[in-house]
């Protein structure tokens, strides 16, 4: 027999997944995840049409740049805004949050269930996108080259690292936007502030850098952005004091737990007053 909180967390998870995966409101998130896949597959198809594949190393660098600058910083970022901020805020707007608040469930358990539902949804969407992006990027090199790279080169390690960074980005940004959705009525303001905070991370003092999600993710990306990609991109991705994975992974998870802990205080104080929304 499972403890009650596990049964209740599972019930919240089941309810939320229904809403998160099949809502028309979240359709744009699928498009956001699909956009880099289309870009990279398109690149491969063009190269295949020209019958001359690019340099493999060059493709690896292009992938690293798109992954760090666009996919993580914009795709996963805004995907998490759309999913996690709506977990509470969306229900306030739909005037249905009170059904949860009228059940014999601790608000912390509700928060945990909603977070796990958001996490599962974003991980499924964005990890699938990452896998498809990688295969899309290297498609024109042929199966032999790719399987060699995976089996004997750094391919498997890079592949695992990219998937891991995607999952950690969902955990980090998810916790931040869940908390923001609980604390703010208008999600655009905190989303904008967090976007700026994450963008200027490279210019912040070392202590403040550790208070952002991107700091940990940059440390975990397997390939640093090629300086030839442009001064602006290099500046965004620079990491003067990169953390080893064994600190960066627990560091990011601890940051997420701390943010969720703060959000749980806010959820416990939350009142239902739809008239003022």
């Amino acid at each position: 027999m499972n403890p009650l909180w596990i049964v209740q967390t599972t019930a919240v998870l089941r309810l939320e997944l229904r809403k998160t995966f099949f809502s028309k409101r979240g359709f744009w998130i699928y498009l956001l995840a699909l956009a880099p896949v289309v870009l990279m597959t398109g690149h491969s198809l063009i190269q295949m049409n020209r019958h001359r594949p690019c340099d493999f190393g060059q493709d690896t660098n292009i992938f690293a740049t798109i992954f760090q600058i666009f996919f993580i910083r914009l795709g996963v970022f805004f995907g998490c805004v759309g999913i996690f901020m709506n977990l509470f805020r969306g229900e306030v707007l739909d005037k249905s949050l009170h059904y949860y608040f009228l059940a014999p469930i601790r608000r912390e358990v509700l928060l945990a269930g909603k977070f796990l539902a958001g996490l599962l949804a974003t991980v499924v969407i964005f990890v699938t996108s990452t896998v498809l992006q990688i295969f899309g990027m290297y498609l024109h090199h042929g199966w032999g080259v790719v399987s060699d790279y995976m089996a004997s080169g750094n391919g498997a390690a890079h592949f695992t690292a990219y998937l891991g960074v995607t999952v950690l980005a969902c955990i980090g940004y998810g916790s931040v936007f869940l908390a923001a959705g609980v604390m703010f009525r208008n999600p655009l303001i905190p989303a904008g502030v967090i976007l700026v905070w994450e963008s200027i991370n490279s210019f912040l003092p070392a202590v403040l850098q550790k208070l952002s999600v991107i700091y940990y993710l940059k440390s975990l990306c397997p390939i640093q952005i090629d300086p030839h990609a442009g001064e602006f991109f290099s500046l965004l991705s620079i990491n003067v004091d990169p953390m080893p994975a064994y600190i960066a992974v627990p560091g990011l998870i601890l940051l997420a737990i701390a943010v969720l802990f703060l959000a749980s205080f806010q959820v416990r104080k939350m009142e239902i007053n739809y008239a003022t929304e």
Partner: protein
């Protein structure tokens, strides 16, 4: 089991910023059917939201059967609340709506399924249970909310305007259901603006005006304490003129009016008990009295006397 059988408000106030919700409310609500009566904005829904923990008091303390309202995991084992919000999670059928929330209570699949059908059957929604709530009529939405709030067998049931949108037949069935539940020892706290219905079903009433409790208790008790409004008593008899002449012998009688059909007398008196004693003497002296009944000890009259004049003076 809860240690206490009361819903207690101890000096409770709630302000929404500068706006008053309710102020200095002290209540001890016993089991039975209790109605909250008052005009729009008087604080009925605020009081209900407070007792279910959906909002927190600015001051004071509330307990339901001894449980604090900031302990939802404990409170909602005993409390069910059918709110006035006419909104539902998107895409749910009636069955899914009740079932999903029973799973939140911690029920296993089989138990949740059984309780869901019982609750749905109780409100007469079996045939529509598999249809999407979005296609329900107002009355059906009201009934499925009622099923959801009662599905776990609460000891305290809070109902905000539960009869809104129900047709007369379902209305009568729902009132009968409330009666049965109250007879089983349940607290039923209802807000309604349909006063004759409140009058028919309530064991006690709480009258609210502008965020203040203006009266509470059994309706006859509240009425008898209103000294500035003489009690009205309707006496059906064969000789109302003779009766009128006799009742004025008592100085507490302030007015007597012969009924339109000529077979009754409406008397206003400041001392109903003395008047009833006098009626016994009159009856023994030749006037044939068919029936005696108070004419204004119902919720409607009390509401009119206590709140109606206040509303009218605005």
């Amino acid at each position: 089991m809860p240690a206490n059988d009361r819903v207690l408000f101890e000096n409770v106030s709630k302000f929404y910023g500068d706006v008053l919700g309710v102020n200095r409310v002290n209540l001890s609500i016993p089991p039975g059917i209790t109605s909250l009566v008052g005009p729009n904005g008087s604080g009925k829904t605020t009081l209900m939201n407070l007792m279910s923990g959906l909002i927190r008091p600015t001051r004071g303390r509330i307990t339901v059967l001894g449980i604090r309202t900031d302990q939802p995991d404990e409170l909602f084992r005993y409390l069910g609340y059918c709110t006035q919000f006419d909104s539902f999670p998107k895409g749910f059928t009636g069955y899914q709506f009740v079932y999903s929330y029973l799973r939140l209570y911690g029920c296993a699949h089989g138990e949740a399924e059984e309780l869901t059908w019982k609750a749905i059957e109780r409100v007469g929604m079996v045939e529509a249970a598999r249809r999407k709530i979005a296609g329900y009529s107002k009355g059906m939405r009201q009934r499925i909310k009622l099923a959801q709030s009662t599905c776990h067998g609460p000891s305290v049931l809070v109902l905000d305007e539960p009869l809104n949108g129900l047709d007369p037949l379902v209305r009568a069935e729902t009132i009968a259901l409330f009666r049965t539940l109250a007879e089983d020892g349940m607290h039923i706290i209802i807000s309604s603006h349909i006063l004759h219905e409140v009058d028919a079903i309530s064991d006690q009433v709480i009258l609210l005006s502008n965020g203040y409790v203006v009266a509470e208790g059994k309706i006859q008790g509240v009425r008898s304490e209103m000294q500035d409004h003489p009690m009205q008593i309707l006496i059906r008899c064969n000789r109302p003129q003779d009766l009128a002449a006799k009742v004025f012998e008592q100085d507490s009688v302030v007015e007597a009016q012969i009924h339109k059909d000529g077979l009754g007398l409406l008397v206003k008196t400041r001392d109903a008990n003395r008047f009833y004693l006098m009626l016994n003497h009159i009856a023994q002296n030749g006037v044939s009295i068919e029936s005696v009944a108070p004419a204004d000890d119902d919720v409607n009259s009390v509401y009119e006397y206590l709140i109606g004049s206040e509303e009218a003076s605005k």
